[in-house]
Symmetry: C2
Subunit: 199 residues, 2 copies
């Protein structure tokens, strides 16, 4: 490969380092950029540098932002009495895409995971407790991942916040929309039964 | 999305423009780069710019190169009596990956395709005939795509080169019909080289 064109193999190599990109996709992307409009290629390169230089954590909710505090924390139309707690900044994007939440966020920066050496002290949990006390929060929606780490983090937070005059809720477990009943795993299906509601 | 972090949405948007990259992969790549080593992100950005600035066509074989003539055309250990004719520069990479060809290349810059307005005059066919006459070529291996356009280009070239004292061969049909050359796995492509036959 190196014998053909150095910068091209270099670019293929850089693409291959990215997650989900195998050698063939890397080559396809590199050849695409080679024949793409130079302005488009420059825009991609610029966007990569920008994201490293200009994105940081919001000092209030710890999600990603260019300006501090972030646009969601500054937005007076967002409901400050409802706080959605997530593990990672990317989870904020996932919730925002649903267009169904108009409160504010609190990003823990991870989930409690003794296996990976992530204890309570490494997460923005103290900051969450302080915000709940200071910002007249009425509901804390815990939207951590539906797995063991997300579950234990949720239970820990619920116990920690129980003295505060705040309603702590957790996202519902159930069947994914559009799925088949017989494709659902047993645990999900059992949770869907537990969480059944009157029609 | 825009409300969360401008440079991040910008990067996701740029990734989405690339082939095979959907919105979720674009987001995943952007978040990966955000948490990646700044040097790795800078290397990717640099590689994108380099490929646009420094890669051009070899004036002899018309494959991609940083220096002209390309390393394969300059390499005295490559067999100058065997010429592999391919449609696109990326096909050179596909053949090189098999490690089973030690001759030189000739890139047509496309395949004959009346449907897409690509006639003989738009391809480096005159240059191929000139090279065959000037470079004491003994075998021309036609490695165009195993589809209708590649096949008609191969037949056209075989007829065109028949007056020359040169053996014209075509890659064996171990290649899956209807596919693209650079999608073939290395073993299939290597087998196709071994089984090449006179036209």
């Amino acid at each position: 490969m190196d014998s053909v064109a150095g910068p091209l193999s270099a670019l293929i190599g850089e693409f291959e380092k990215l997650p989900t990109i195998g050698p063939k996709t890397a080559a396809r992307l590199a050849f695409y950029l080679l024949s793409a409009d130079p302005d488009d290629a420059a825009a991609l390169a610029r966007a990569i540098l920008d994201v490293k230089e200009r994105v940081r954590l919001c000092s209030r909710c710890f999600s990603l932002t260019e300006d501090d505090p972030c646009p969601i924390c500054r937005d007076p139309l967002r409901d400050g009495t409802t706080l959605c707690v997530v593990g990672e900044p990317k989870d904020v994007y996932a919730v925002e895409r649903t267009m169904s939440f108009r409160g504010r966020y609190h990003v823990l920066g991870g989930l409690i995971s003794p296996m990976n050496g992530i204890g309570v002290g490494k997460l923005k949990i103290k900051e969450l407790v302080e915000r709940v006390a200071a910002e007249s929060v009425r509901e804390v929606i815990i939207a951590t991942n539906p797995n063991a780490e997300g579950e234990s983090t949720a239970l820990y937070l619920a116990r920690l916040l129980s003295p505060a005059a705040v309603n702590v809720t957790r996202l519902a477990y159930g069947l994914p929309i559009g799925g088949d009943l017989d494709y659902a795993d047993e645990i999900t299906l059992a949770r869907a039964f537990e969480g059944r509601r009157s029609l």
